[in-house]
Symmetry: C2
DNA sequence: GTGAAAGCGCTAACAC
DNA sequence: GTGTTAGCGCTTTCAC
C-alpha cells in the first residue's frame, strides 16, 4: 500500500540499509557515496516516500511524545472557563516540548486499562504530572511508573526525590501578599481555601500565611481560615476581616462574585488577593490583585528537566523553584476602618 | 529488559499467540480454555507485563492518536490570554476524542521535516485542522495529506468537499446580533474585523452583516467596515455608529479596551457585540454581549465525523452546521440618540 | 561503499 | 484449544 524503504531502495538500485543511512543523514558518517545518496533521495521524492514513524518508534523505542496527565482528579473541562491556570502551564509545556522536538499529548483520563498501563506502555518518552492531589492512589501510581516524569506543583521530597519537580516559591509569594496588605494598613487578614481538597500547595500556602502573619506580629486563629464552602455564610455576617487572601485565582474570583451578589464592595469593604495571576485576573471586575507565578516558564522549566531525565541524566537541579512577584490591580486598597 | 509476551507465554507454559488472545479478550472468540486464560492472566500479573503499545501500533497500523493542528499560522501562545476560542474548542475535542478511545496531540507547529511528513507518516490516525487561514500553502498541504481529516471553521466546499467540516451558522448568528441591535433602536451599526488577515469566516460574517442589514432596510457602505488596525483612529473621531459588531470576541474585547482608554462609555455611547461567547465574555467589563457558537460541542462533533472517516466510512453528514444563539450581556443597550 | 541478515514485540492466517 | 509461521518497516551489527 504505502511506499516503504524497500521500494525506494529498489528504485535507486540499492538496499534498504543504504536508504536508511541516507534518509537519516548518517550517510557521511557511515560512508555512502554522494552519487548513491543523491539517487536515493531522488527515488524517495519520485515515489513520495515517507518514513513510517510507528515502525521507527517501535524499533528505536522512543516516541518523541510527552504525555501530560492533566486534570487527573479534577472535573473537566479545564480550559474554557474560570482560572487560566492550566492554560498558562500548557502554553509553556507545549512550547518547551516543541523546542526539544517532542510533541505533547493531553490525557484528561489515564490511558489504558490500569494506571500502570497508562503510563509505562511505551507510548510516551516522558510524563508531566500535575495533579496537585497527593492522594495515596496517586502515590501508588507514580511508584509503579517506570517512565521518566516531572512533577509540577509538588515538592520533589513528597515523592522521595525520585522525580524532578517544579514549583513556585509559595512562602515568598504569600509573604509578598501579606506585606502588601499590611503596608496598606490591613491587620485582620483572612485566608480562603478549599478545606476538603487536600491540595498540597494549598496547605503550604496556608502555612506560609500563618507564619508570615505571625512574623509580622499579627495573630492568626482558626477563625481566620475560611473554607470555600462557607463563603456564603461568611460573607452574610459582619465581616471579620478587612482583607482576604485566597489560595488561588479561581477561588479569589469566587469571592469577588459572592461579595458582589451580597452587596459587599471590593475593594472598599474588603480587599482580595489571589494566587496565580494569569490573564484571568485582568478580566475580572475589579481586576484581581494577585501573586504571580510564572506558569508558562514553569511549564518550560519542567520540560527541560524532563528532557534531561529522558536522556538518561539526573536532572540538575532536581527541583526548580520559581520566585513569585505581586501584581497589584484593583482588588486591594486601604481598609476603611 | 522489559517483560514481553514471550516471557508471559513461557511462564504460563503456552505460546505468545495464546497470550495475545487472552490479553485482548479474544479468548472466547478464538477459544482458549478458561483454565489456560487464567494461568496467562496470572503470569502477566506476576511478571508485571504490559503491552508494548508501540509494537501494537506498528503491527496494527493504528495509533489511536488524533493530531490537532492548532495555531498553525497564528502567533503562540494560544491558551493563556485573550479569547477562549481555542480553549473551548480544545475542551470539546479532548473530551470527544477520549470517548472514542483516542488521545489528542497538540501540534503548534508541523511535525517532521516537511508538511507532508508532518501529517501522513503514520503518527496520527486522524487530524483536526483548524487553521482558519485558507492560504495557498495550506491548501497544498491538505491536498498532499493522506490521513483522515476534519476541518473546523471552514466550509467543506472550500476544499472540494474532500473532508468533513464543522462550522457554526454564521449567517444566522450575525442575523441574531443585527436584529438585537435593531430591536434596541440602533440603525448605524458598524462591522469590525481584521482586514489584513483573510480569515474565511470573517469574510462570511462580514457578508452576512451586509446582507442582513440590507434586508432590514439599513444601508451599508464601505465606511461601515472598520479595520482593527484603524480602531484607534476610528474611536478618536466623532462616532459614526451607535453600535459595533465585531467578527470575534477577541476583537470585541479590543474595542472595549480602546473605548475605555479614550473615554467612550460602553454601552452608553456605543454598543458592542462580539462573536464566540466563551467564558471570556463573562470576564470582561462590561460583560460582552456576544453571538454564541457552541465551540465545545463543535469540537466533539468534529471528532465524531473524524472517527467515522478513520473507520473508513464517509462521514455523514459531510458538514455539520451548528446554530448560534445570542448571549445578551452588558455591552449593548438602547442608543442615546 | 554497500549488502545480508537478524530482530524489535506483536498479531493473524493457517495448521493440527 | 493450541501451536507454527510469517511478517509489519525499520535499523544495526557485521561481513565483504
Amino acid at each position: 500500500m504505502s511506499v516503504t524503504m524497500r521500494d525506494v531502495a529498489a528504485r535507486a538500485g540499492v538496499t534498504p540499509t543504504v536508504v536508511s543511512r541516507v534518509l537519516h543523514n548518517k550517510a557521511t558518517a557511515i560512508r555512502v557515496s554522494e552519487a548513491t545518496a543523491e539517487r536515493v533521495r531522488q527515488a524517495a521524492i519520485d515515489l513520495g516516500y515517507r518514513v513510517n514513524v510507528m515502525a521507527r518508534n517501535f524499533r528505536e523505542r522512543q516516541t518523541m511524545m510527552i504525555g501530560v496527565l492533566h486534570g487527573i482528579g479534577f472535573d473537566r473541562p479545564l480550559l474554557d472557563k474560570g482560572s487560566r491556570y492550566f492554560a498558562s502551564l500548557m502554553d509553556g509545556i507545549i512550547e518547551g516540548a516543541f523546542e526539544h522536538g517532542y510533541s505533547v499529548t493531553l490525557c484528561p483520563k489515564l490511558l489504558g486499562q490500569t494506571p500502570e498501563d497508562a503510563m509505562s506502555d511505551g507510548r510516551f518518552d516522558g510524563l508531566v504530572w500535575y495533579s496537585t492531589l497527593p492522594s495515596q492512589e496517586n502515590r501508588e501510581m507514580l511508584r509503579r511508573c517506570s517512565v521518566p516524569m516531572v512533577l509540577i506543583h509538588t515538592k520533589a521530597a513528597e515523592y522521595g526525590n525520585r522525580y524532578p519537580a517544579v514549583t513556585c516559591d509559595n512562602e515568598q509569594g504569600i509573604g509578598l501578599a501579606v506585606d502588601h496588605l499590611i503596608s496598606l494598613g490591613h491587620e485582620r487578614i483572612g485566608f480562603a481555601y478549599e478545606a476538603h481538597i487536600p491540595f498540597s500547595e494549598s496547605a503550604i500556602r496556608a502555612g506560609a500565611y500563618r507564619s508570615h502573619m505571625q512574623e509580622r506580629g499579627l495573630r492568626v486563629t482558626d477563625c481566620d481560615f475560611i473554607d470555600a464552602g462557607d463563603l456564603d455564610n461568611y460573607l452574610s455576617q459582619p465581616l471579620r476581616h478587612t482583607a482576604i487572601l485566597a489560595h488561588n485565582e479561581g477561588l479569589a474570583a469566587h469571592v469577588l462574585r459572592k461579595a458582589f451578589s451580597v452587596g459587599i464592595s471590593i475593594p472598599q469593604d474588603l480587599s482580595v488577593v489571589g494566587f496565580d495571576s494569569t490573564g484571568y485576573c485582568e478580566e475580572l471586575t475589579p481586576k484581581l490583585t494577585s501573586i504571580y507565578q510564572p506558569l508558562a516558564e514553569m511549564g518550560r522549566g519542567a520540560i527541560n528537566l524532563l528532557v534531561q531525565s529522558i536522556g538518561g541524566n539526573t536532572p540538575n537541579p532536581l527541583e526548580l523553584i520559581y520566585p513569585c512577584s505581586l501584581d497589584i490591580r484593583g482588588s486591594t486598597c486601604i481598609p476603611h476602618r
